[in-house]
Amino acid sequence: MRGIRAMRAIKVWKIRSLVQHAGFIVMMYGGRFGVHLGSAIPCFACPFVPGCGGYCYLMGLQGYIGFGMSAVAAGGVGLLAALGWFALFAMLVALLGKLWCGWVCPFGLIQDWLSALRRAFGVRERTIPRNTARRLTRVKYLLLSGIVVIPPLATAGILHEDFYLPFCNICPGKSILPLFAGEARYLALNLDNRVTLGFSIALLAITGVMLVGMFFRDRFFCVFCPFLALIHLLKPITLLGLTKEPESCIGCGNCRRVCPMAIEAVYKERVSRDVQGDACLDCASCVEACPSDFALSINFSKLRLFRSSRDYVAELKGKFGR
């Protein structure tokens, strides 16, 4: 508790921004100075970026370290390897939870840059109507099931072989992130066959929609990101998370207003301490903006890492949600 109090002078949003940029450099350019963190990174460390510093686990899950037919075809060893990679992924998630999304993910940072650009222009942030938003939350689970189901079908020959890596083929990370390493080829149409052409047209369309969406709405892509679904499914073993003391909440609504994912549940919760929903990025903006001394906190298991306080809000001097 004493330590936390001393930390109050440090602004969490500044640390977060620093970590995000460091994460960006490691994930995007790590390979260029000999860093490669393996194939189980729980964020968009895109393998299509030349010289990247690790591989996104979603790629592995679809491909050579997934649980699909390729693992079965490789015999027991393949399955064991798949389990091993999953265990590593689960451990990384258990330790840091959605910090991977809010604090590390390079694609998340690009979205934050676009939001900053929107703010600089004074353009109003668009909201997604509540009913639409509720329907959209299902998309990430659909994508996740596609990631698990489609590659084995491709391996088994039921689907065309180019359905291997179905998610990567439509992931805007694949088209946008390599641009930062001077690689623009994934924006071109792939004329190999009808499947690849279809995928590349879809990717271009999705990239366009996402770029527009991400400019007008904070973290627009995260709404659809299968990582959020997958990490949320591992919530029972995740140590890091957001909790609320509903009996300390005065209902000012700051948490709801600064949330990049426009989550309302944190504001509305009146009973449960568990407010870590599937859309939460653990970015801690709500904890920063909460003027109640006990209401919100980010915890690692039983250890309270950062707790909301009125004094912290006063010292923020209006720098909310950066």
């Binding site: 703010r119 942030e125 909440c249 005065i250 000012c252 700051n254 207003r257 109640s292 004094d311 209006g318």
Partner: protein, 434 residues
């Protein structure tokens, strides 16, 4: 005092516009009494042991002239008069006005507005009516340049202009219909409309409210909130007396926020307070308390009860502050303000106000409080009614609860003192050295 007014003192005086000799006499007498009341209270403040010249600025504000004209002279902006804190002051400020919440704690003023009004009535509204009659807002330029901005909070506010009209005083009023269910979408959407309506109204003065001016105003009031929070913290640590805190908070609207902030930041904490077991550190909740009616505050202090925190709309809640806003577009700021002033408000006029008690429970932990004194102004029904539910919850949480119902009159002082002393004794321990 401005006696050139369009004033009908009571219903017998048929000749509106020409004050009768009797009217003038009553006015003059009330005005003198009010002045004496203020001077007596200022004098007692100046004679306190912990008085220091750093409080002079705030004493001068609270004791000085508070007419719109005086406010306009002081701030260099046209005054926009408020009775509550539901209309976003940042928005009003961004339009070039000085938002100014009129509140009066003057006993003399309540008697001035005695005729033709309900016997059991909010003394604050009665005193404000008295002050309006005394300063004569029906004359000169003030009705045009200084509009009233009135969200329909309690019935007293809703009927306030009607009551003024019964005295022959017409005012320029902009109503904001306040949805009393604040947690639902319908209410919030409705209120946002009202806030945009206010923007439109303010812009009829020729001002243009833009992103830049809004952001500036939010920053100015955020600075002020930081200064207020600093003082609240000092009070929690007993480095400033509650009476001074209330005086400073109560003077907030009487000068430009920048000047007030500067003065508030320059207040130095006093030396470390006495400590030990058995100290009666309490939370002060309920109806607002305005200068010069500091009767209850003095009585609390005299009986050895230390107010370490409050949620009065004349104290820590004098303006909401801490408006978090990530969407810094014009719409984003206005909608953030609308939400902060509506769903974030803890006024008992709201039906779904169940979270109000959470603020008190938080302070119980932060400030180590052991009791709650709930102040009800006679006639202030919303607070009166809400005290029932709050009492039950707080007692369950082990806080000693005392409900004090009083008004501006000093006759019940002895009675209150006895009750407060009995309450003080329930805390055990020695009486604090004062």
């Amino acid at each position: 005092m401005n006696l050139n007014l369009n004033l009908k003192m009571n219903l017998e005086d048929k000749e509106i516009g020409i004050p009768t000799e009797r009217t003038l006499k009553i006015l003059k007498k009330a005005s003198e009494r009010a002045k004496a009341e203020v001077e007596k209270n200022l004098k007692s403040l100046a004679e306190r042991e912990d008085y220091s010249p750093q409080f002079d600025y705030f004493m001068k504000l609270c004791g000085g002239e508070q007419t719109p004209e005086a406010i306009e002279r002081r701030t260099g902006r046209s005054a926009a008069r408020l009775l509550c804190i539901q209309a976003p002051i940042e928005l009003i400020h961004a339009a070039g006005f000085h938002p100014y919440k009129i509140a009066s704690g003057s006993q003399a003023m309540t008697s001035l507005a005695a005729h033709g009004l309900p016997a059991l009535m909010c003394p604050m509204i009665r005193a404000v009516i008295g002050a309006v009659l005394e300063s004569g807002p029906g004359s000169g330029t003030s009705p045009v340049t200084s509009p009233w901005i009135l969200p329909t909070t309690c019935d007293w506010v809703a009927k306030f202009p009607e009551m003024l009209r019964s005295f022959g005083v017409e005012n320029r009023i902009h109503w904001m219909e306040l949805p009393h269910l604040k947690d639902g979408d319908a209410g919030q959407a409705r209120w946002l409309e009202e806030v945009f309506g206010l923007k439109k109204f303010l812009e009829t003065s020729g001002a243009k409210i833009g992103r830049k001016s809004l952001a500036d105003s939010v920053r100015i009031y955020d600075d002020a909130w930081r200064a207020l929070n600093r003082l609240a913290k000092m009070r929690r640590e007993e480095r400033i007396a509650n009476v001074w805190f209330m005086l400073i908070a109560g003077s907030f609207f009487l000068d430009s926020p920048e000047r007030w902030t500067e003065a508030a930041l320059s207040i130095a904490p006093s030396s470390a307070p006495p400590s030990g077991p058995g100290r009666a550190r309490v939370f002060l909740a309920g109806s607002p308390i305005f200068f010069p009616n500091f009767k209850l505050l003095h009585l609390l202090e005299d009986t050895g009860i230390t107010v370490a925190a409050d949620d009065l709309c004349s104290g820590e809640r004098v303006f909401p502050g801490a408006v978090a806003c990530k969407d810094t577009s014009e719409f984003g700021i206005i909608s953030a303000l609308a939400q902060r002033y509506h769903q974030g408000c803890l006024c008992p006029t709201f039906i779904d106000n169940d979270r109000r008690v959470n603020g008190i429970l938080c302070e119980k932990r932060t400030a180590g409080l052991r009791g709650v004194v709930f102040h009800v102004l006679k006639g202030c029904h919303p607070y009166d009614l809400e005290s029932l539910g709050i009492e039950r919850i707080l007692k369950e949480r082990g806080l000693r609860f005392l409900r004090i119902e009083t008004d501006y009159a000093s006759e019940d002082s002895q009675n209150l003192r006895t009750r407060l002393e009995a309450y003080r004794r329930t805390f055990g321990g020695e009486r604090d050295e004062l």
